[in-house]
């Protein structure tokens, strides 16, 4: 390689490396803030090294798995409450009035946006469903994971759903 090209290569690579390092530092500094949601553990025990606790009255998102057996209709309208968990023992309760997304079921990942009304209770204005990167036909899901997915819109009409009207239904346990 001739010296002029070598020089240009050096300048170009150093610009790229410098920019990559700068971006890396910015992202590292922001890493706590880029998360879309708090996990239940972070709400109960605090987030990050400083164990920063969210304030009561704060607007936030919480994401976790719906604890099986905790989905309850609160009255005869669309109000529903359920608990969320991640790895830890910490659980938070979410209350929501509205139509649940079709992917909602017990054990499913959920992101709820709302206001923290008590240290571990959230009144949500929006509930979004997460799904994992696994795709399989229904028979395989039944066989492998024992999951029969019933969208919330079909809970009442489903004969094998729990006959307790308090209970929200979901998959066979």
């Amino acid at each position: 390689m001739n010296p002029r090209r070598k020089k240009r290569l050096a300048i170009t690579s150093s610009i790229i490396v410098a920019f990559a390092v700068a971006t890396g530092l910015v992202l590292y500094a922001l890493s706590q803030n880029i998360d879309l949601f708090y996990t239940p553990t972070e709400i109960v025990e605090g987030k990050g090294n400083e164990k920063a606790m969210p304030q009561v009255g704060q607007r936030l998102r919480v994401g976790g798995l719906v604890v099986p057996g905790t989905v309850r209709r609160l009255d005869d309208n669309l109000r529903v409450s359920f608990r969320l968990i991640d790895n830890g023992p910490a659980e938070v309760t979410v209350e929501y009035q509205g139509i649940l997304p079709d992917l909602f079921r017990e054990g499913q990942g959920i992101v709820a946006q709302g206001i923290l009304v008590e240290p571990n209770r959230i009144v949500a204005s929006e509930v979004l469903a997460r799904h994992d990167e696994e795709y399989m036909p229904p028979e395989l899901a039944r066989q492998l994971k024992g999951i029969e997915h019933v969208p919330p819109s079909q809970w009442q009409t489903q004969p094998n759903a729990s006959n307790d009207t308090e209970e929200g239904g979901g998959y066979d346990r």
Binding site: T12, T23, P137
Partner: protein
């Protein structure tokens, strides 16, 4: 070591190589894409929780993968253009950018259409969606910068620098779902590579998906080849070799589609 590449600094050599490669991309590309799309949409089984809605994955994932792959290709061309100052590499930036931008847009659009019924929202500002939107802006920025200068080579240099700097966004897009918690799920295809024996997608869904990725790649290659050859002919229109092609004096097998299209256009 790279001596065999040197002839392609000459636009004419690149043009002829492109014309030779074109049918090998275009024909299998159309066939594979048609087969894979029909297989995915009509014959693959429905998903246990998403039903038929998951089928948009057969467009969404290939478009997203190619949007990043094309960006890396464009950045490589930009590096060659900046360091070796080869004009064909500069034109390659311009040939790739709009194709990449369209693939990025397809991935964002299909993602929104998929997100609405499944997640419950068209859009959420999580790390994956936002970084992919930035990729679209990078493509548009490269195209705008290229055209923003009176002198085309200055524009190519500026666009090349932007393309290279934007490379930092590619690992961010890929790892966003691992580094931060996001609404977007993690990568199915990465799991196919890291644990091939136990992929997270049933084989009768996975094969049409992989085939679709191949089909999208071939179509992307076809579009880039066509665009690059048009760029070359446009720039070299006064050269004897280009005149010969444009006037139809050379065998049809070498001129192929692009040459023919240009002949009509320019009389």
């Amino acid at each position: 070591m790279w001596r065999w590449l040197h002839p392609y600094a000459k636009p004419e050599a690149t043009y002829r190589l492109n014309q030779k490669m074109l049918p090998w991309f275009a024909v299998p590309g159309i066939v594979v894409l048609a087969v894979a799309t029909i297989w995915g949409l009509a014959f693959a089984p429905a998903d246990y929780q998403q039903g038929d809605s998951y089928r948009i994955i057969f467009t969404h994932v290939p478009a997203a993968i190619l949007s990043m792959g094309l960006y890396m290709t464009m950045a490589t061309a930009a590096l060659i253009a900046l360091v070796w100052q080869i004009r064909t590499a500069e034109w390659a930036i311009l040939a790739i950018a709009p194709v990449g931008a369209v693939f990025t847009f397809i991935s964002l659009f299909t993602g929104a259409v998929w997100g609405q019924p499944m997640w419950g929202t068209w859009w959420v500002w999580d790390a994956r969606l936002t970084s992919q939107l930035i990729l679209l802006f990078l493509y548009l920025g490269v195209m705008a910068l290229y055209a923003a200068f009176e002198d085309e080579r200055t524009g190519a240099k500026a666009a090349g620098i932007l393309a290279l700097i934007g490379v930092v966004n590619i690992p961010i897009i890929h790892y966003s779902v691992y580094w931060w918690n996001t609404l977007h799920q993690q990568s199915t295809i990465t799991k196919v590579i890291t644990r091939f024996e136990k992929p997270s997608m049933a084989p009768e869904m996975l094969w049409p998906l992989l085939l679709n990725i191949l089909g999208f790649a071939l179509i992307a290659g076809t579009l880039v080849i066509l665009r690059l050859n048009n760029q070359i002919l446009q720039r070299e229109v006064r050269r004897p070799w280009a005149q010969a092609i444009l006037s139809g004096a050379i065998p049809a097998s070498q001129a192929a589609n692009t040459g023919a299209a240009n002949t009509e256009e320019r009389g």
